[in-house]
Symmetry: C2
Subunit: 64 residues, 2 copies
Amino acid sequence: MKNLRLKAARAGKDLSQAELAKLCGVSRQTINAIEKGDYNPTIQLCITICKVLSKTLDELFWEE
Amino acid sequence: MKNLRLKAARAGKDLSQAELAKLCGVSRQTINAIEKGDYNPTIQLCITICKVLSKTLDELFWEE
DNA sequence: ACAAAAAGTAAAATATATTTGACAATATGT
DNA sequence: ACATATTGTCAAATATATTTTACTTTTTGT
């Protein structure tokens, strides 16, 4: 399932996938894959993404 | 740095590293390494651990 | 002190996250 | 309609998370 919260948070900062990727120090494809879903990133990358987007892990990656 | 919050949450459920590992479907060494720190687990594993211990990502893995 | 359980640690093998390069498809602005 | 940016996607290579086996050290209980 897609991570729409991540997509929305990125849009809220007016960043393209490529720009967010650069800020996080990863490739654009990695960001794309995470947003697309069916992907399992490392927690350090998730934390980096959260900090760049001013969100917390629960806000972007927690699932009930 | 060690993840003492994880260690404490595990203690709060009276589980050994081996028992938590089994409940999470991973090896004991993986749990040990995560508690020890200097490790970078996948977010799916973090989520599984959180659910087993009745915690959220922010409670166990978020770092300011 | 003793035995047993739990935790710490290491090397080699395997599974998988991430990169790189490249191209197609869709959106956005003029 | 056109040009450009953005997104979606794929295959092969690389980096790293995780497993397995095995052993040592520390804790816990009697």
